[in-house]
């Protein structure tokens, strides 16, 4: 068994670890559920690249947005995933999320950022979103 980390090192790791949440849609843009293998691949990726993942909410986040093309209000549901990473790896996560958005046929994978005690949902860097 590996020796436990010295307390000071464990504390330092905890301070320098960033918890990042992002939204992965339950359904594709045509309203069809994603296949099990698609979801499993995302989870395996997160385990391999960032050491693990967890679900950060009781239920998927339900949202409504106005489609700029049709002008209709559309509804979607997304799982809120959470990973713990070193802040220096945020760019790596964003790159992964941009690739994921492409793979899922989504315009963006939205990341949840907390600033001044309030949460904001922003697109992961590298995702193409209509302004």
């Amino acid at each position: 068994m590996a020796a436990p980390l010295p307390k000071t090192q464990a504390l330092s790791d905890a301070i320098h670890s960033l918890v990042v949440q992002f939204l992965v849609p339950v359904f594709d843009r045509n309203g069809r559920a994603y296949a099990r293998s698609v979801r499993n691949r995302i989870r395996r990726d997160l385990e391999g690249r960032f050491g693990g993942w967890s679900l950060a909410a009781d239920r998927p986040l339900a949202g409504a947005w106005r489609n700029p093309g049709s002008g209709d209000v559309e509804y979607d549901e997304s799982w809120r995933y959470e990973v713990g990473i070193d802040p220096t790896r945020l760019h790596e996560l964003d790159t992964y999320l941009a690739g994921l958005a492409f793979r899922l046929g989504q315009k963006a994978i939205w990341r949840v950022a907390y600033a001044g005690g309030e949460g904001r949902v922003i697109p992961a860097a590298g995702c193409m979103v209509d302004k």
Partner: protein, 167 residues
């Protein structure tokens, strides 16, 4: 899905792969049977999924995240498969092209009693005598749907025989 062969419990994943469950503890089996019961009761997929992989979920064994080791564990794989079946039935997860048809292979004593038109104690008696195949884990019986169905056929034959003798 779940089968009992020569006193061994096996689970067949949606992919068709069969897993031997003898390595699981009683508590693990209790968790899986409870999960199956909740899917039979048509509990919402999202709440089932939380029971398997959210922080504090039993298969995570205290870990705040699902790691590769947890994902590869027998308990997690079976639990996730049980929940996926519910998700597929509820239309929130799509099956993979090679997946087997989603069917419930396990029934509870209450459901078996309802199907057979007998009391719960009659079902338990039949299960104890081996006339209905299944396994008791803790206080819960997991009965094979196939076995309950064939018991119903046998029951009908017995009743038909009695009726013809009376005539």
């Amino acid at each position: 899905m779940l089968s009992s062969r020569a006193r061994r419990m096996q689970y067949q994943l949606l992919t068709g792969e069969t897993l031997e469950l003898s390595g699981l503890s009683r508590a693990d089996m209790g968790f899986l049977l409870g999960l199956m019961g909740r899917t039979t009761a048509e509990e919402d997929y999202f709440s089932l999924e939380r029971s398997v992989c959210a922080p504090g979920a039993y298969p995570l064994r205290g870990s705040p995240r699902v790691t590769q080791r947890i994902h590869d564990s027998l308990l997690f794989r079976v639990a996730e498969d049980i929940v996926d079946r519910a998700g597929i039935r509820q239309g929130v997860v799509a099956p993979d092209p090679g997946d087997r048809r989603v069917t419930e292979a396990i029934v509870s004593v209450t459901e078996a009693a309802k199907r057979l038109g007998v009391t719960r104690s009659a079902v338990i008696k039949a299960a104890r005598a081996g006339r209905i195949q299944g396994k008791k884990v803790g206080h819960t019986w997991a009965l094979l749907r196939r076995s309950v169905a064939s018991y119903r056929v046998a029951q009908h034959r017995v009743e038909a025989g009695r009726a013809s003798r009376r005539a």
